[in-house]
């Protein structure tokens, strides 16, 4: 933790201008919880926005004074002298609208009813998130981001920034992401959603008023998710066919180590994550498809982008495979955009984007250093 950003604290921003979501639903007001690391420079040109993925949040780096073991989820990447160097950049992390870590979401109290939103919370999209984030940027006095950065669903937001607000982002770092989900991706999400939706404790999304949580469904969703975040090879290396007790038990209790791992991950997640947030996050993933408005033509979709891009993929990521990143790169090149692409050899599947890897981090460091020179000069 030598070059950690150290003790941080979350802040809240209030938005009273109604947000018209893509679904047509209007959210009259909302709050976003966020953290910042580093210092905004005089001309406000060094701001970096970090967008989170399905289960992420605003606590991206550092620790809390009252909870020193709660380390930010991308702390390995962000700090003094780290690839995203807080001596140079002013870094913002937020919890997305619809989240369950402090920003307004399905588990928040709807002031109109005095009850949690539950099923009445709108299905927000990546476009809605970018809109809500742009208002946060307004409040913080940031006209243009030096970079918007994200992995997976976060990468989709980073790309959407370049389409919704081309003039407000100079660089997009789109990591382990895709221009849209495949049928297989949607299928996995739908199984996860059905696990939650058919849990008798879900109550159509209004479980809060029943004093229960659809733990079974959330647990299954997370177990399934974990399989797709890892690679076949990584699971083979880490767990193989190892038996927890050394011999077969001929029962449905945990026998193989991989079962122990998955069930533990599922239980841990189900104990804190909001089921409605999980559902809407998977829907935002399914819906993201900038080419849809252009008859499926990604080249035309990216014509609006003005930012420079770094696109990064990982060899064993089968959920967002390198070929999906290359689709993004090709569409950008078609539009004569400035794009760098790195395909990192990694054994860790989709989870690679969260892990420290020498090659990956060097690519990120070099790219961020180049950005820093723009405003240092």
């Amino acid at each position: 933790m030598d070059n950690s950003v150290g003790i941080v604290s979350a802040q809240r921003a209030q938005f009273d201008t109604p947000l018209l979501c893509k679904s047509g639903v209007v959210l009259p007001r909302y709050e976003l919880v966020y953290e910042t690391y580093g210092t905004l420079n005089a001309d406000r040109s060094n701001a970096v926005l970090i967008c989170h993925a399905l289960s992420g949040h605003h606590h991206v780096a550092g620790i809390y004074a009252d909870d020193p073991r709660n380390i930010g989820w991308w702390d390995n990447l962000i700090g003094s002298g780290k690839p995203i160097d807080t001596d140079k950049f002013f870094v913002i992390g937020l919890n997305n609208l619809g989240g369950c870590h402090g920003s307004t979401g399905p588990s928040s109290i709807d002031t109109a009813s005095g009850q949690p939103y539950g099923a009445s919370f709108p299905l927000v999209t990546v476009e809605d998130w970018v809109e809500s984030q742009s208002r946060l940027a307004d409040q913080l006095g940031i006209q243009q981001f030096a970079a918007v950065i994200g992995g997976s669903l976060g990468g989709m937001q980073a790309m959407q920034w370049s389409l919704s607000y081309p003039e407000r982002v100079r660089h997009v770092l789109a990591i382990a992401t895709a221009p849209h989900l495949t049928a297989e991706n949607i299928a996995f999400n739908d199984v996860a959603r059905n696990a939650i939706l058919t849990d008798p404790d879900f109550y159509g999304g209004n479980f809060y008023r029943h004093g229960v949580v659809p733990t079974r469904g959330l647990r299954l969703a997370r177990m399934l998710g974990h399989i797709t975040y890892l690679s076949d090879d990584a699971m083979a290396d880490k767990f193989g066919r190892s038996l927890r007790s050394g011999k077969l038990g001929y029962s449905y209790d945990i026998e193989f180590e991989i079962e122990s791992y998955l069930r533990y991950q599922g239980d841990k997640f189900a104990a804190y994550f909001d089921a409605n947030t999980y559902l809407l996050m998977t829907k935002a993933l399914d819906y993201f498809d900038p080419a849809r408005a252009f008859d499926g033509n990604l080249n035309r979709a990216f014509a609006a982008a003005q930012a420079k891009f770094l696109v990064v993929s990982f060899t064993t990521d089968w959920r967002f495979a390198p070929q999906r990143s290359r689709e993004i790169v090709r569409a950008l090149l078609h539009n004569k955009r400035d794009v760098s692409y790195a395909e990192i050899s990694s054994n860790h599947g989709h989870d690679s984007f969260l892990m420290e890897d020498a090659h990956y981090f060097e690519v990120m460091r070099n790219y961020m250093n180049t950005i820093a020179q723009e405003f240092a000069a």
Copy 2:
């Protein structure tokens, strides 16, 4: 249906000699339901056993007089002049012990209690199945099979025959299978099992006496299974990102065609398949590992085999990938066994083994013709 085996009917075989399962549990008696096609020749040398996979059964070919739309699951492969030619071979299909299509299984009445076995039914293994099948062969007067054939979990049984009863099988056709499951395979099975085990209607496996069925869990298990039976490419070709109504609905109802397909398959399966059978079938898959008794050395495991082998894999099968078939081939070659191997280019993933494909069926036909010449000569 020109060269179908036509109208068939199931038969029952009763076994009163106790079966000692690998788990240590003794099954005092059991019944197997089976069908046969073709005619056993005078020296009983033309018998072929078809072993089924997770959701298969004894109705492998032909139709029933009272249900002409119920066509056997491998009818495309088996019949007069078909690759497994019933003019030459006497073909046997059975429902495995523990199944839910007529053989003794968890939903059968335990005569000791007068109640369905439920949770008390033993977790049967591939070895147990081969043992129970060998007794069926005894009853039918078949000392040696010309071939034992199976895909997926059925392929595991075919291989196990060559290890448990090397002298009783001349040829093994092991299709779309593996010498053991990987951690990822086990992980998918464990999610499916947990969907069933945590369904409130499962009642620890004794749901029969409560008059309910764990439909939610079975449905999720089948939905997940289907994803792994198909290939990413096949799903992209068949469903892509097509929307059922042509536009986004911003709800958790079915939106994408792939969701419609999966939910339909899940509902259909949950309406007839037994949850306990599903559980024990997945466990049999997880447990199969002939190398375990030899410190993981597959070469030593296959030293017992005397049969000749045809091993077939499919390029887009990521559940039982071609590399897994090549592990089998290498271990057989190490033991100087006679082995043919075909890697079929197919877009249909694991399901390819059930589908008519010119190259695949030609390989099967040629191999079966070679076998037929042994006893024709």
